[in-house]
Protein backbone atom coordinates (compact mmCIF):
# COMPACT_ATOMS: atom_id res chain seq x y z
CA UNK A 1 0.00 0.00 0.00
CA UNK A 2 1.50 3.27 -1.14
CA UNK A 3 1.00 6.49 0.85
CA UNK A 4 -1.34 7.79 -1.88
CA UNK A 5 -3.62 4.77 -1.46
CA UNK A 6 -3.66 5.41 2.27
CA UNK A 7 -4.72 9.02 1.61
CA UNK A 8 -7.62 7.74 -0.53
CA UNK A 9 -8.73 5.49 2.32
CA UNK A 10 -8.52 8.29 4.91
CA UNK A 11 -10.45 10.74 2.72
CA UNK A 12 -13.12 8.15 1.93
CA UNK A 13 -13.65 7.35 5.59
CA UNK A 14 -13.81 11.08 6.42
CA UNK A 15 -16.57 11.64 3.85
CA UNK A 16 -18.59 8.76 5.28
CA UNK A 17 -18.17 10.18 8.81
CA UNK A 18 -19.38 13.56 7.51
CA UNK A 19 -22.40 11.92 5.88
CA UNK A 20 -23.31 10.12 9.10
CA UNK A 21 -22.96 13.31 11.12
CA UNK A 22 -25.32 15.02 8.65
CA UNK A 23 -27.86 12.25 9.10
CA UNK A 24 -27.66 12.36 12.92
CA UNK A 25 -27.40 16.15 13.40
CA UNK A 26 -30.33 17.54 15.38
CA UNK A 27 -30.05 21.15 14.24
CA UNK A 28 -30.22 21.92 10.48
CA UNK A 29 -27.17 24.19 10.82
CA UNK A 30 -25.04 21.29 12.06
CA UNK A 31 -26.26 19.18 9.14
CA UNK A 32 -25.34 21.99 6.73
CA UNK A 33 -21.84 22.28 8.18
CA UNK A 34 -21.35 18.50 7.98
CA UNK A 35 -22.41 18.60 4.33
CA UNK A 36 -19.93 21.44 3.73
CA UNK A 37 -17.20 19.25 5.26
CA UNK A 38 -18.15 16.35 2.97
CA UNK A 39 -18.02 18.65 -0.06
CA UNK A 40 -14.55 19.94 0.80
CA UNK A 41 -13.19 16.42 1.26
CA UNK A 42 -14.80 15.36 -2.03
CA UNK A 43 -13.07 18.30 -3.74
CA UNK A 44 -9.72 16.99 -2.45
CA UNK A 45 -10.64 13.53 -3.79
CA UNK A 46 -11.45 14.99 -7.22
CA UNK A 47 -8.12 16.81 -7.27
CA UNK A 48 -6.35 13.53 -6.46
CA UNK A 49 -8.32 11.73 -9.19
CA UNK A 50 -6.85 14.01 -11.89
CA UNK A 51 -9.92 16.26 -12.15
CA UNK A 52 -8.61 19.67 -10.99
CA UNK A 53 -11.30 21.63 -12.84
CA UNK A 54 -14.08 19.66 -11.23
CA UNK A 55 -12.39 20.09 -7.82
CA UNK A 56 -12.26 23.87 -8.21
CA UNK A 57 -15.84 23.99 -9.50
CA UNK A 58 -16.93 21.84 -6.56
CA UNK A 59 -15.46 24.42 -4.17
CA UNK A 60 -16.87 27.40 -6.10
CA UNK A 61 -20.33 26.09 -6.98
CA UNK A 62 -21.14 23.64 -4.20
CA UNK A 63 -19.27 24.98 -1.18
CA UNK A 64 -19.42 28.58 -2.35
CA UNK A 65 -22.84 29.09 -3.91
CA UNK A 66 -25.15 26.23 -2.98
CA UNK A 67 -24.06 25.76 0.63
CA UNK A 68 -24.05 29.52 1.23
CA UNK A 69 -27.65 29.59 0.00
CA UNK A 70 -28.60 26.68 2.27
CA UNK A 71 -26.87 28.17 5.34
CA UNK A 72 -28.53 31.52 4.61
CA UNK A 73 -31.94 29.89 4.39
CA UNK A 74 -31.34 27.91 7.62
CA UNK A 75 -30.59 31.15 9.47
CA UNK A 76 -33.49 32.98 7.79
CA UNK A 77 -36.12 30.34 8.62
CA UNK A 78 -35.24 29.71 12.22
CA UNK A 79 -36.36 26.29 13.50
CA UNK A 80 -38.58 26.18 16.56
CA UNK A 81 -37.50 24.37 19.74
CA UNK A 82 -40.11 21.61 19.56
CA UNK A 83 -39.30 21.01 15.88
CA UNK A 84 -35.77 20.05 16.88
CA UNK A 85 -36.78 17.63 19.59
CA UNK A 86 -38.04 14.93 17.20
CA UNK A 87 -35.90 15.13 14.05
CA UNK A 88 -36.94 11.75 12.58
CA UNK A 89 -40.15 10.34 11.14
CA UNK A 90 -41.82 7.25 12.58
CA UNK A 91 -40.39 4.85 9.98
CA UNK A 92 -36.76 5.63 10.89
CA UNK A 93 -35.77 2.11 12.02
CA UNK A 94 -37.43 0.39 9.06
CA UNK A 95 -35.79 2.72 6.53
CA UNK A 96 -32.36 2.45 8.15
CA UNK A 97 -32.61 -1.34 8.21
CA UNK A 98 -33.68 -1.48 4.55
CA UNK A 99 -30.86 0.85 3.50
CA UNK A 100 -28.32 -1.23 5.41
CA UNK A 101 -29.66 -4.36 3.70
CA UNK A 102 -29.37 -2.66 0.31
CA UNK A 103 -25.78 -1.67 1.10
CA UNK A 104 -24.87 -5.25 2.03
CA UNK A 105 -26.49 -6.68 -1.12
CA UNK A 106 -24.78 -4.20 -3.44
CA UNK A 107 -21.45 -4.77 -1.66
CA UNK A 108 -21.68 -8.45 -2.58
CA UNK A 109 -22.54 -7.60 -6.17
CA UNK A 110 -19.41 -5.48 -6.61
CA UNK A 111 -16.39 -7.01 -8.35
CA UNK A 112 -13.54 -8.17 -6.07
CA UNK A 113 -10.88 -5.74 -4.88
CA UNK A 114 -9.38 -3.92 -7.80
CA UNK A 115 -6.63 -1.36 -7.97
CA UNK A 116 -6.54 0.74 -11.08
CA UNK A 117 -3.46 2.38 -12.44
CA UNK A 118 -4.59 3.81 -15.75
CA UNK A 119 -2.53 6.39 -17.61
CA UNK A 120 -3.26 9.92 -16.45
CA UNK A 121 -5.90 11.70 -18.51
CA UNK A 122 -5.38 15.38 -19.25
CA UNK A 123 -8.15 16.93 -17.15
CA UNK A 124 -6.95 20.53 -17.11
CA UNK A 125 -9.06 23.53 -18.11
CA UNK A 126 -7.67 23.75 -21.65
CA UNK A 127 -8.46 20.19 -22.66
CA UNK A 128 -11.83 20.31 -20.92
CA UNK A 129 -12.99 23.57 -22.49
CA UNK A 130 -11.78 22.56 -25.95
CA UNK A 131 -13.84 19.39 -25.74
CA UNK A 132 -16.77 21.31 -24.23
CA UNK A 133 -16.90 23.82 -27.08
CA UNK A 134 -16.51 21.26 -29.88
CA UNK A 135 -18.09 17.89 -29.13
CA UNK A 136 -20.36 19.00 -26.27
CA UNK A 137 -21.39 22.41 -27.54
CA UNK A 138 -25.05 21.40 -27.93
CA UNK A 139 -25.19 20.17 -24.32
CA UNK A 140 -23.42 23.34 -23.22
CA UNK A 141 -26.08 25.49 -24.90
CA UNK A 142 -28.83 23.31 -23.44
CA UNK A 143 -27.33 23.84 -19.97
CA UNK A 144 -27.36 27.60 -20.48
CA UNK A 145 -31.00 27.47 -21.61
CA UNK A 146 -31.79 25.36 -18.53
CA UNK A 147 -30.14 28.00 -16.31
CA UNK A 148 -32.18 30.75 -17.99
CA UNK A 149 -35.43 28.80 -17.56
CA UNK A 150 -34.48 28.16 -13.91
CA UNK A 151 -33.91 31.86 -13.25
CA UNK A 152 -37.27 32.74 -14.86
CA UNK A 153 -38.99 29.99 -12.88
CA UNK A 154 -37.53 31.14 -9.57
CA UNK A 155 -38.57 34.75 -10.17
CA UNK A 156 -42.10 33.65 -11.13
CA UNK A 157 -42.41 31.43 -8.04
CA UNK A 158 -41.19 34.16 -5.71
CA UNK A 159 -42.96 37.11 -7.35
CA UNK A 160 -46.33 35.36 -7.45
CA UNK A 161 -47.81 35.62 -10.93
CA UNK A 162 -50.79 37.98 -11.15
CA UNK A 163 -50.83 38.45 -7.39
CA UNK A 164 -51.63 41.97 -6.26
CA UNK A 165 -49.78 43.15 -3.20
Amino acid sequence: MTPLTLIYYILGILTIIGGFSMLFAKHPMRAALSLLFVMFILAVLYALLAAPVIAVLQIIIYSGAIMTLIVFIVTLLDSKEDDLRKPYTKCVYLVTFLMFLLLLVTMNLLPPATFGNAPMVDGNIGALSKELLTNYVFHFELASVLLLVGIIGISIIRAGRGEKQ
Partner: protein, 100 residues
Protein backbone atom coordinates in the same frame (compact mmCIF):
# COMPACT_ATOMS: atom_id res chain seq x y z
CA UNK B 1 -2.71 2.95 -7.13
CA UNK B 2 -6.36 3.91 -6.87
CA UNK B 3 -8.55 1.70 -4.67
CA UNK B 4 -11.45 1.62 -7.14
CA UNK B 5 -13.67 -0.74 -5.19
CA UNK B 6 -13.21 1.30 -2.02
CA UNK B 7 -14.13 4.56 -3.79
CA UNK B 8 -17.18 2.90 -5.36
CA UNK B 9 -18.14 1.75 -1.87
CA UNK B 10 -17.72 5.30 -0.54
CA UNK B 11 -19.93 6.63 -3.32
CA UNK B 12 -22.54 3.95 -2.63
CA UNK B 13 -22.53 4.64 1.11
CA UNK B 14 -22.84 8.39 0.56
CA UNK B 15 -25.75 7.84 -1.83
CA UNK B 16 -27.56 5.61 0.65
CA UNK B 17 -26.88 8.07 3.50
CA UNK B 18 -28.42 10.82 1.37
CA UNK B 19 -31.42 8.65 0.54
CA UNK B 20 -31.87 7.77 4.22
CA UNK B 21 -31.70 11.47 5.11
CA UNK B 22 -34.41 12.27 2.55
CA UNK B 23 -36.65 9.45 3.78
CA UNK B 24 -36.10 9.77 7.53
CA UNK B 25 -35.74 13.42 8.45
CA UNK B 26 -38.76 15.66 9.10
CA UNK B 27 -37.12 18.99 8.28
CA UNK B 28 -37.44 20.07 4.63
CA UNK B 29 -34.05 21.80 4.63
CA UNK B 30 -32.24 18.68 5.86
CA UNK B 31 -34.04 16.65 3.19
CA UNK B 32 -32.66 19.11 0.61
CA UNK B 33 -29.16 18.50 1.99
CA UNK B 34 -29.74 14.75 1.55
CA UNK B 35 -30.54 15.37 -2.12
CA UNK B 36 -27.28 17.29 -2.49
CA UNK B 37 -25.35 14.43 -0.90
CA UNK B 38 -26.88 11.97 -3.40
CA UNK B 39 -25.85 14.18 -6.32
CA UNK B 40 -22.31 14.45 -4.92
CA UNK B 41 -22.06 10.67 -4.59
CA UNK B 42 -22.99 10.33 -8.28
CA UNK B 43 -20.34 12.90 -9.25
CA UNK B 44 -17.72 10.98 -7.26
CA UNK B 45 -18.54 7.79 -9.17
CA UNK B 46 -18.28 9.60 -12.52
CA UNK B 47 -14.89 11.07 -11.61
CA UNK B 48 -13.52 7.73 -10.34
CA UNK B 49 -14.43 5.87 -13.51
CA UNK B 50 -13.29 8.78 -15.64
CA UNK B 51 -9.85 8.45 -14.01
CA UNK B 52 -9.77 4.66 -14.28
CA UNK B 53 -10.64 4.58 -17.97
CA UNK B 54 -8.54 7.68 -18.76
CA UNK B 55 -11.55 9.29 -20.42
CA UNK B 56 -12.87 12.83 -20.03
CA UNK B 57 -16.57 12.02 -20.49
CA UNK B 58 -17.18 11.67 -16.75
CA UNK B 59 -15.98 15.24 -16.22
CA UNK B 60 -18.73 16.56 -18.51
CA UNK B 61 -21.34 14.56 -16.67
CA UNK B 62 -20.04 16.14 -13.45
CA UNK B 63 -20.22 19.63 -14.98
CA UNK B 64 -23.83 19.17 -16.07
CA UNK B 65 -24.74 17.69 -12.67
CA UNK B 66 -23.37 20.92 -11.12
CA UNK B 67 -25.61 23.00 -13.40
CA UNK B 68 -28.68 20.94 -12.56
CA UNK B 69 -27.88 21.01 -8.82
CA UNK B 70 -27.55 24.81 -8.82
CA UNK B 71 -30.95 25.29 -10.51
CA UNK B 72 -32.55 22.64 -8.32
CA UNK B 73 -31.42 24.29 -5.09
CA UNK B 74 -32.61 27.70 -6.27
CA UNK B 75 -36.05 26.36 -7.21
CA UNK B 76 -36.43 24.28 -4.04
CA UNK B 77 -35.48 27.21 -1.83
CA UNK B 78 -38.01 29.44 -3.62
CA UNK B 79 -40.70 26.78 -3.04
CA UNK B 80 -39.65 26.38 0.63
CA UNK B 81 -39.90 30.15 1.17
CA UNK B 82 -43.43 30.13 -0.29
CA UNK B 83 -44.40 27.13 1.89
CA UNK B 84 -42.96 28.79 4.99
CA UNK B 85 -45.02 31.90 4.26
CA UNK B 86 -48.20 29.77 4.45
CA UNK B 87 -47.69 27.61 7.53
CA UNK B 88 -44.64 29.06 9.38
CA UNK B 89 -43.16 25.59 9.72
CA UNK B 90 -40.38 23.57 8.09
CA UNK B 91 -41.68 20.13 9.09
CA UNK B 92 -43.09 17.83 6.43
CA UNK B 93 -45.84 16.83 8.86
CA UNK B 94 -47.28 20.36 8.56
CA UNK B 95 -47.97 19.88 4.88
CA UNK B 96 -50.38 16.95 4.88
CA UNK B 97 -53.50 18.79 3.75
CA UNK B 98 -53.71 16.60 0.62
CA UNK B 99 -54.33 13.57 2.90
CA UNK B 100 -57.51 14.92 4.42
Amino acid sequence: MIPIDFLVMVSLTLFLLGATTVLVRRNILVMLMGLELMLNAAVLLFIVYSRVHANLTGHFFALFIFVVAAIEVGLIIAIILNLFKQKRSLLTSSYTSMKE
